[in-house]
């Protein structure tokens, strides 16, 4: 197995507010990213997947605090624990954009409306590579060309509102790849796009990953997208990574009840006679302050038993590289039935 590029160990993130009790948005996250591989981080809205991704670049708001855990990044200058760096420090800034970069969900609002896309891409090249503006622009044009923006030379002078959603996201990708990062974080990059454009962008990302050999952390709530792009998957529920492993294995034999429930709620194309009703997960997601001390899925789990509500399940290895956090895996069935 290749050396991991970035590993997040036992990370928790707490949001503080002067008027309300603290909210632990991310409780216990362990993730490992390896070069050339894509890890999909899956979960419903508000489960902490974006917060986790932003924590890697230390882009969280000032009221967010990484309480425990470490984010070990094995970069150009040896291992650093990103969780211990100051967000606006030179060390952090030399990683951002240059070694780890990010694409965001909404390409319209994520690009400055009053600067040309060329200007916005040039900037990052000038900043990290110290090129002259003219050389940077040439590089920008080459990049735009590489991500499939037609007429790159002219489009570099266009403003974001003059481009279509797909082109904007391509420009965003060009910006993220400008300094050939080792890790690309994609925070729901296709959610705001229509299905055709989505497929094109996914193809592009896969192809660019082959070209650049970078690791990718891909955040989405769309399991179809996961199947297309990911090598590994990590399923998050209410701040916990409940299951992770090889994407095919997890899809085929999900071990955690939440993952199982997710899989059975995906609609499938079938002949009318074979159709079965989708099984929704009962109940709704509790707010983080009502979360059980133990497994966060307890309140909605069909198999919940004795230790679930009170004890945090351990990270249990199911098979090579396949982990889940569930008491069903450690306790015998008899115990479960008691």
């Amino acid at each position: 197995m290749t050396k991991p590029l970035l590993s997040i160990n036992d990370m928790s993130i707490v949001f503080t507010s002067p008027d309300e009790p603290d909210i632990e948005a991310v409780r216990q996250v362990d993730l490992t990213l390896t070069p050339g591989k894509t890890l999909a981080l899956v979960g419903e809205s508000g489960c902490g997947k974006s917060v986790t991704a932003r924590a890697v670049l230390r882009l969280l708001d000032k009221n967010a605090d990484i309480r425990t855990g470490e984010i070990v990044y094995d970069g150009r200058d040896g291992q650093v624990d990103i969780a211990r760096l100051k967000p606006d420090s030179t060390a952090m800034r030399s990683i951002r954009g240059a070694q780890i970069s990010m694409i965001f969900q909404e390409p319209m609002s994520s690009l400055s409306p009053v600067h040309t896309i060329g200007n916005q891409i040039d900037e990052i090249i000038v900043l990290h590579e110290g090129l002259k503006p003219k050389q940077a622009r040439e590089r920008t044009i080459a990049l735009l060309d590489q991500v499939g923006v037609p007429g790159a030379r002219d489009r570099a002078n266009a403003y974001p509102f003059e481009l279509s959603g797909g082109l904007r996201q391509r420009a965003m990708i060009a910006m993220a790849l400008a300094c050939t990062p080792k890790l690309l974080i994609a925070d729901e990059p296709t959610t705001a796009l229509d299905v055709t454009t989505q497929a094109q962008i996914l193809d592009l990302l896969r192809q660019l990953q082959d070209d650049f050999g970078m690791a990718m952390l891909f955040i989405t709530h769309d399991l179809g997208v996961v199947a297309e792009i990911a090598d590994d998957i990590a399923v998050m529920y209410l701040g916990d990574v409940v299951e992770q492993g090889d994407v095919f294995e997890v899809f085929k034999t999900p071990k955690h009840p939440y993952t199982q429930a997710l899989m059975s709620s995906v609609p499938q194309l079938q002949r009318k006679a074979d159709r079965v009703r989708l099984q929704p997960i009962k109940g709704t997601v509790p707010s983080p302050k009502d979360r059980p001390v133990g497994c966060s899925f307890t309140s909605r789990c069909p198999h919940a038993f004795g230790p679930c509500a009170g004890t945090r399940p351990e990270r249990t290895q199911v098979s090579e590289g396949h982990m889940a956090r569930c008491h069903l895996l450690t306790h015998t069935k008899e115990e479960a039935l008691v």
Partner: protein
């Protein structure tokens, strides 16, 4: 872009024509005319005037004629000969009276605007970035005090303090020896040694307002995703803030430049009276009370011109800094 400017220019000419029409109507609205006021002054002094002389004057000034005819005479004089008519009270052509004063107005108030922006911009950015910090609260308190104190009171306060502390009187824009001199270095120096007080007074309220607006705009912009994108590039925080959100937050401020100038002229009247400044404000006030219609009309007209030019400038600036406006108006 050229077409944009061209269309704005046409609109500007039409607006000015409308302004002139309304301005002329307004100065004729009060009952009577300059001669009635003049007569009243004379008779209160015990002088008797020959009705025939009055009638002759009335004929000469064309007071008896219908509005349109009077307006036509006035406007054709302005357009054809640059002649704004005669001031009855000063017995001199309006043009010789107003240029100097209007120049002073524009100079003082223009400098006030510059000072305003110069102070408000860094403070506004600071308080938005450091929201709810001690500096933010201090600036807010100071800003509201500046907003709440009437300008003339501040002017009186400054006069009092400078007299008590330094034994000098502030007031006027020039020492007597420089009053009518040509511009030179000593005169400039003299001007600034007088003008700092009115400029400061005029700038305070506006500064407070600008800080509040900039803070509110910037707080909105700082939360936008493109700021996160800029941070994710690895830019230093100050560069992130200055290049992106500040640039966008400036738009609403730039669009206010248009009416800033005329607003300053009209709000500075009392300050000008208190500080005895030779600007256009007091002259306008005086001409309105004595129904010196051509003088009043000319000043109102020129204020209109200032507004329209200010609006054009702010439109052009906006189009320059915001591509969405530039391309939206093709």
């Amino acid at each position: 872009m050229l077409r944009f400017v061209f269309r704005r220019l046409i609109a500007m000419v039409l607006t000015l024509w409308a302004v002139s029409f309304v301005a002329f109507a307004i100065i004729q609205l009060p009952p009577g005319d300059y001669l009635t006021t003049y007569l009243a002054t004379l008779s209160s002094n015990g002088d008797r005037v020959d009705p025939a002389t009055i009638e002759a004057l009335r004929q000469q000034y064309g007071f008896g004629e219908p509005y349109i005819v009077q307006y036509w005479k006035w406007i054709s004089g302005i357009l054809g000969r640059g002649d704004f008519g005669q001031s009855f009270e000063w017995k001199a052509p309006v043009t010789t009276l107003i240029w100097g004063r209007l120049g002073n107005s524009i100079l003082v108030e223009g400098l006030a605007v510059l000072v305003m922006w110069f102070i408000a911009l860094p403070i506004g950015i600071y308080v938005a970035v450091k929201k709810y910090s001690l500096g933010d609260y201090l600036a807010t308190v100071a800003g509201f005090i500046g907003l709440a104190i009437p300008n003339f009171l501040l002017a009186l306060l400054l006069m009092y303090l400078s007299f008590v502390w330094f034994g000098t009187t502030i007031g006027g824009l020039f020492s007597s020896e420089f009053e009518n001199a040509r511009w030179s270095l000593p005169r400039l120096w003299d001007f600034f040694s007088h003008a700092w007080a009115p400029i400061l007074v005029l700038a305070t309220a506006g500064t407070a307002e600008l800080i509040r607006i900039l803070r509110a705009n910037l707080l909105d912009e700082l939360k936008k995703p493109y700021v996160t994108t800029a941070r994710a590039k690895g830019l230093p925080e100050w560069k992130v803030v200055l290049k992106y959100p500040v640039r966008v937050a400036l738009n609403p401020l730039v669009s206010t430049i248009g009416w800033l100038l005329p607003a300053l002229v009209s709000s500075s009247v009392i300050v000008s009276v208190v500080l005895n400044l030779p600007t256009a404000g007091p002259l306008l006030l005086r001409s309105l009370t004595s129904q010196d219609m051509y003088l009043a009309g000319a000043i109102i007209m020129l204020l209109g011109v200032l507004t329209v030019i200010g609006t054009l400038i702010s439109d052009l600036l906006l189009a320059w800094i915001d591509p969405r406006i530039r391309y939206g108006s093709k």
